[in-house]
Amino acid sequence: MSHYFFYIIASILILASIAVVTARNPLYNVLSLVVAIFSLSCLFVLLEAFFVGMILLLVYAGAVLVFFLFVVMCLNLNVASLNVTQKDRFRWLEIAAGFLFLSSFALALKSCLQAQSMHPSSIRGTVEIIGQILFTDYLLPFELTSFLLLIAIFGIVSLAQGALSTGKDLKNT
């Protein structure tokens, strides 16, 4: 039964992530990333990683993508100016990089076929177990992330202050 869910959710995820890259309106890019994150969180629930799926839904779809949407609406972007394409001088380089990536992806696929014999274990990533590990073995990294977020806040505040104090006429200088 659950493999039907996997295929349905996986196809939604692939379609939504193609839409993230190809949609022309930035609003649609952000909204299709919401769909992609939602289906990714469904996949996490299928893998019985409940805590991580819930955090993904709350932090990503709830906070980060609303922030994206806020910035897109704030900037009042001209959609036509976003899609101007210039003549590309590095076309051959892009093609070479594509082939390189394709060959490495084929190697990865080969090792994936060898991994077919592994069976899923019975672990369930509930809030209780993840919390126990997080506050015993991973206590120091968990506390250090607060420093990371603090430094991020400092960065944002200093960026915003610089933009306010120097004003808009910097383009002309």
Binding site: V20, V52, L82, C112, I151
Partner: protein, 100 residues
């Protein structure tokens, strides 16, 4: 029966789509969104490995990746807003100087 290989192939497909977006798009907003796709693909393979190896460490790493991604998005969007105020565009090609 869904095996580890199917999750890894799905993760590889999502990663390739995100990498395509990072390499080809010119708007900085779209580059940031494609970076989110890259992080999501790696998160999926972490959780799949965690489930199939019977080890909780993968899910904890995903937790930390989500935290770092939130900080990264906040900084990136702040830079985009400042860039739009100064240059009135968010095209990555327009950023040619390191300092005004």
């Amino acid at each position: 029966m869904i095996t580890l290989g199917s999750y890894l192939i799905l993760s590889g497909i999502i990663f390739s789509i995100g990498l395509l977006g990072v390499m080809t798009s010119r708007s900085t907003l779209k580059i940031l969104l494609s970076l989110e796709l890259l992080l999501a693909a790696s998160n999926l393979s972490f959780v799949a490995f965690s489930k199939f190896n019977g080890d909780y460490t993968g899910q904890l790493i995903v937790f930390f990746v989500i935290l770092v991604a939130a900080a990264e998005v906040a900084i990136g969007l702040a830079i985009i807003v400042v860039m739009y105020r100064h240059l009135s565009t968010i095209q990555a090609d327009e950023l040619r100087t390191m300092k005004w």
